[in-house]
Amino acid sequence: MRERLELLKKEAEAAIEAAKGLEQLRDVKVKYLGKKGELTTVLRGMKDLSAEDRPVIGGLANEVRTGLEKKLTEKEEELREAALDARLEAEAIDVTLAARPQPLGGIHPIAAVVEQIEDIFTGMGFEVAEGPEVETDQYNFEALNLPQDHPARDMQDSFYITPEILLRTHTSPVQVRTMEAKEGQVPVKIICPGKVYRRDDDDATHSHQFYQVEGLVVDRGIAMSELHGILATFAEKIFGMALETRLRPSYFPFTEPSVEMDITCIKCSGKGCRMCKQTGWIEILGAGMVHPRVLEGAGYDSERYTGFAFGMGPDRIALLKYGIDDIRHLYTNDLKFLRQFQSV
């Protein structure tokens, strides 16, 4: 009986080894270990054994069964692995084939610049104020020290709806509206982004509609050096580089002293190029100390409080920052153009 068991073990092991697939392996299992399998057949002869031999042979039979089961499991694992490998090989694809396109929109470059400006200024403690685009002559001009016959009204020919109501020509009226709403409280620290309108023919550098961001700070002891400080900080952040700034005297009816701020040309770093007309400088915004008449008109004592205001054009900043050569691109909404800013 021992010999038969040994022989059976050898045969079975050879059959397992030779199995060429899970199917065959299962057949082997049935043949040797199944209910009607050969091991069972051998064990049926146990009843003829002596009482001493029975436990010994029984133990041996168990050993053979365990051994074969282990071999079967190992072989099964091996075959499964091989089958999976084969399937995966068969599934191989050319990974360099084109991707299936996923829809992805994009931000408009002006909107992107406006958000950047908002984020920089809110980071410096500014709130974002808003005001109407259809404005009264009073807020758009009169309250900003631009009375009816003021020569500066020429600078910005406007779209009137009635003699008293027009499309705002700048975001500056929001200065006055904000101050009035604050009723003399300080500090006032706001920016106001929005659309403005002027009677210009649309060409490479003009648009009858464009964006402006107005800014206003009013508090005790605000000096022009702070105007310079805030705006220099802003300039470096919006262009993401270290820059020099230069203030030049200018004129706005609602600020005095008025300034224009230049930055070192971002294209040539100040060496002089076509973009900066060889000067090394580019103008990016206008600003100034709030005119006492504007403060007084909005209910702030101009002896106690001073402030500064500024205005900049997100359109212009977008042109500079992204190297856009024609402002009309910003309002044509050509997808071939807009797609260039998907990573903004």
Binding site: A98, R100, P101, Q102, P103, L104, G105, G106, I107, H108, I110, A111, F121, T122, M124, G125, F126, E127, V128, E130, P132, E133, V134, T136, D149, P151, A152, M155, F159, Y160, I161, I165, L167, P187, K189, K195, D219, G221, M224, S225, E226, H228, T233, L247, R248, P249, S250, Y251, E256, P257, S258, M289, H291, P292, T306, Y331, N333, D334, L335, L338
Partner: protein, 808 residues
């Protein structure tokens, strides 16, 4: 303002200052120099030649062969095509090796077989501005004055060795609309002296012509000066004067007109010369026009006046419109020998109004509009008298007559040193401030910490303390203002909730594949009426008073029309699909004529058309349909946390009658979603197109303050049941779902539609809808029994309300 660098040197010393340095100093001081133009334009080796003889060209009818003496022993033979070349002329000759503007090089050559050793030049060829030249000068070669020396560099004679600075003056600096004004500015910036020109004040020697002035227009004309000049001989101006006018962009005409222009450029005071013989009794009456009064102006046009028009009359009839244009009757002509020369102050509002009404603007009116210097009115007159004497043999035939209403007020402004420091944020020593006022030539008296400054009349822009602070800052140098950051009370700074929500909306749509666009607020009424916008139907678009074009005539009341335009633009540029959105304002008013500001409402609008996902090598292109766009909006509402949005079929003009839905929030319409009517789409070359528009305010009101709260995850299992129903085809599934939810109550967790179909097996006019229902209780496991009871209740209700039958 165009400033000749050479001319400016007559008034201020610029020996050690280059044009570029001058421009830099001006710009730094607040007067921006736009362009520095080198007047010679690269001209080289063009000299004065004497035309010794002119012969016809043997082989060309229009060419002439000139023999020219250009200073060398040998004469030059030059072939010339100009008709006006003649023996005895002095002309500019570009000799071999000469250069002309634009990089043109002149070499010896042959013209129709005759050798030519250079070229006789026209004014245009030398770079003189064509529009300022006389007709002869435009058509032929430039004939130089007889007294110029042969061989002299032509640049010297034409004043081309010069640079012109183009000043971009801000409206407050009208004082720099004159050479003297610029000289004061430059003198202050560079700390130099100002040399003022002289004039002739002395009276007339001999016969006195009568001259009378009556001012009858109050503040429109508070000051008027005039003088009669006789013996004038009309002639072309000398070359130096013509050169100066050309550099300033003014066309030389004759010595009388040119002198008035020269004096205007020099002093900033416009002068006007009337033919004295046309002024009845030498009387000037300044008054406002009578209603309906007419004047024929210099240009021959009959101008209708109104009560605001300020006229110069001779007591009987108008002879000019004050400050704007002279009358044709009193114009200086070749026959004129005596003039009445006017120098006056016309109030800026009056000149501006009249100029605008008549559509007239000139060098003179633009100076009056900004306010001339009252203290320079008489000196300008005197200066002109001097020049008329030198250049036109004129002599004064009357005293200087002046008439004024009230005097000129002295302006004294006090500046506190402490305030100066506080506003600028930089320590400027008191001596430095005193020095700045000295350089500005502002008489100043220094007190204890204060400066009492007398402001000259040439600087009307200075009237309060802060004006002086700006003057000091300008001359001290803005570049010396340091950078500091505010140290006062800090403020948090953030976007408002509404601003944040608008950003979330835009970001969500971008992520969903839509491109953000920005369109104009102004559009055309025709565009807006292409499709109905029911939420704003009671509003008519607000019209501009004077639109620039029909395309930009009204303020938009819907964003969709321009999205259609944008889509069309892109489809025409070979885009196969377009997905766009805009978050922008619409402008609404129910007034016919605005008396109040309109409502400005934020609207979200989108458009999707064509192949938005291009064909892939193993997948067909994707096009939008109603449900994909509906899904997009629902996606947005989930992102915003806005619940209870439903849709209801709707029919509106311009929209597909069977594929359009109103978007309802809590049952109230807030927008529209649907397919663009194919006829509208076709008109714009668009394929099947879906659009939507939603008002933002109701969403924001709904979101207001909502913070999502966490709920416990389910502890007990759900029970699923399918529900297949047959109902009439025209019953919207939303109604079925409403009933299912209502009856299912708290135990019904979800209702998911998983199939809808029609067909013969269902029956005519019927549809099959299949739902997967999920039931779950929060605190216990539901029994089959319970679920069965509830489920049958639902089925029964659906049967009762809609005749729905369970599908077997």
């Amino acid at each position: 303002m165009l400033v000749s660098y050479r001319w400016l040197q007559q008034y201020v010393d610029l020996k050690d200052v280059t044009p570029a340095q001058l421009a830099e100093a001006l710009t730094r001081g607040g007067i921006e120099v736009d362009v520095i133009e080198n007047r010679d334009g690269g001209v080289e080796k063009v000299i004065v030649g004497y035309v010794a003889s002119v012969e016809p060209h043997p082989d060309a009818e229009k060419l002439r062969v000139c023999s020219i003496d250009a200073g060398d022993e040998e004469r030059l033979q030059i072939v010339c095509g100009a008709a006006n070349v003649a023996q005895g002329q002095k002309v500019p000759v570009a000799i071999h090796g000469a250069k002309l503007p634009g990089g043109v090089k002149i070499k010896k050559s042959k013209l129709r077989g005759i050798s030519s050793q250079g070229m006789v030049c026209s004014a245009k060829e030398l770079g003189l501005p064509e529009k300022l030249l006389s007709k002869e000068q435009q058509e032929g070669i430039l004939v130089l004055p007889e007294d110029v020396a042969v061989g002299t560099d032509v640049k010297e004679i034409l004043g081309l060795n010069d640079h012109v600075l183009e000043l971009d003056l801000t409206p407050n600096r009208s004082d720099c609309l004159s050479m003297i004004g610029v000289a004061y500015e430059v003198a202050a910036l560079l700390d130099r002296e100002v040399n003022l020109p002289e004039g002739i004040e002395e009276g007339s020697a001999g016969a006195e012509k009568s001259l009378d002035i009556v001012l009858d227009a109050e503040e429109d004309c508070p000051f008027y000066a005039a003088r009669v000049i006789e013996g004038l001989q009309l002639a072309p101006s000398p070359q130096w004067l013509q050169n100066i006018l050309l550099a300033a962009g003014i066309r030389p005409i004759n010595n009388i007109v040119d002198v008035t222009n020269y004096v205007m450029l020099e002093t900033g005071q416009p002068l006007h010369a009337f033919d004295y013989d046309q002024v009845t009794d030498g009387e000037i009456v300044v008054r406002r026009a009578h209603p309906g009064e007419q004047v024929v102006t210099l240009d021959g046009v009959t101008r209708a006046c109104d009560e605001e028009t300020l006229l110069i009359t001779d007591g009987t009839r108008p002879i000019g419109i004050a400050g704007v244009m002279g009358g044709a009757d009193s114009e200086v002509t070749v026959a004129t020998t005596t003039i009445l020369l006017e120098s006056a102050y016309f109030a800026p509002p009056s000149v501006r109004r009249t100029g605008r009404k008549l559509g007239l603007r000139s060098e003179a009116s633009s100076r009056f509009e900004k306010g001339v210097d009252p203290e320079r009115i008489v000196p300008a007159l005197n200066r002109a008298v001097q020049l008329f004497g030198e250049l036109a043999s004129g002599r004064p035939a009357s005293e200087v007559k002046t008439e004024s209403l009230g005097g000129i007020n002295d302006v004294t402004v006090t500046l506190r040193h402490e305030r100066l420091i506080a506003v600028l944020g930089v320590q400027i020593p008191e001596e430095a401030v005193c020095d700045i006022f000295r350089r500005l030539r502002f008489p100043m008296e220094k007190g204890d910490g204060v400066y009492r400054v007398q402001v000259p009349s040439r600087r009307p822009d200075i009237s309060i303390e802060v004006d002086l602070i700006e003057e000091v800052a300008r001359l001290y140098g803005y570049h010396r203002i340091p950078t500091t950051l505010p140290w006062g009370q800090q403020s948090p700074g953030a976007l408002t909730e509404e601003q944040q929500i608008r950003r979330i909306i835009r970001r969500t749509l971008r992520t969903a594949g839509l491109f953000e666009v920005l369109n104009y607020s102004l559009t055309s009424p025709a565009r807006l009426s292409e499709l109905e916008a029911p939420l704003v139907k009671e509003y008519r678009p607000i019209r501009l008073n004077m639109p620039m074009s029909d395309e930009r005539k009204v303020l938009r009341t819907s964003l969709i029309p321009q999205l259609i335009e944008t889509a069309e633009y892109n489809i025409h540029r070979r885009e196969s699909g377009v997905a766009l959105f805009e978050l922008g304002k619409i402008y609404l008013s129910d007034e016919k004529k605005l008396t109040q500001l309109p409502q400005e409402k934020w609207e979200l609008a989108g458009l999707i058309t064509g192949e938005t996902v291009a064909k892939h090598w193993d997948q067909e292109a994707k096009k939008p349909d109603f449900f994909s766009v509906k899904g997009l909006l629902e996606h947005l509402f989930i992102r915003l946390g806005v619940e209870n949005v439903t849709m209801r079929g709707a029919r509106y003009q311009g929209w597909h009658p069977g594929r359009t839905a109103e978007v309802l929030l809590d049952g109230e319409p807030i927008g529209l979603l649907g397919q663009l009517h194919p006829r509208v789409a076709e008109a714009h070359d668009l394929d099947e197109t879906y659009v939507f528009q939603v008002l933002v305010a109701p969403l924001i009101a709904k979101i207001d303050g909502i913070i999502p709260m966490a709920r416990p995850l389910p502890k007990f299992p759900a029970v699923s049941r399918d529900l297949a129903l047959v109902v009439k085809e025209d019953i919207p599934v939303a109604l079925l779902e409403e009933t299912i939810r209502e009856v299912g109550g708290a135990l019904l967790e979800s209702v998911t539609l998983f199939d809808v179909f029609t067909g013969a097996q269902i029956g005519e006019g019927k549809k099959n809808v299949a739902y997967a229902l999920s039931y779950r209780a929060e605190e216990r496991t539901l029994t089959d029994e319970e679920v069965n009871v509830l489920h049958s209740k639902i089925v029964n209700q659906l049967g009762d309300r809609f005749g729905a039958m369970l599908r077997q």
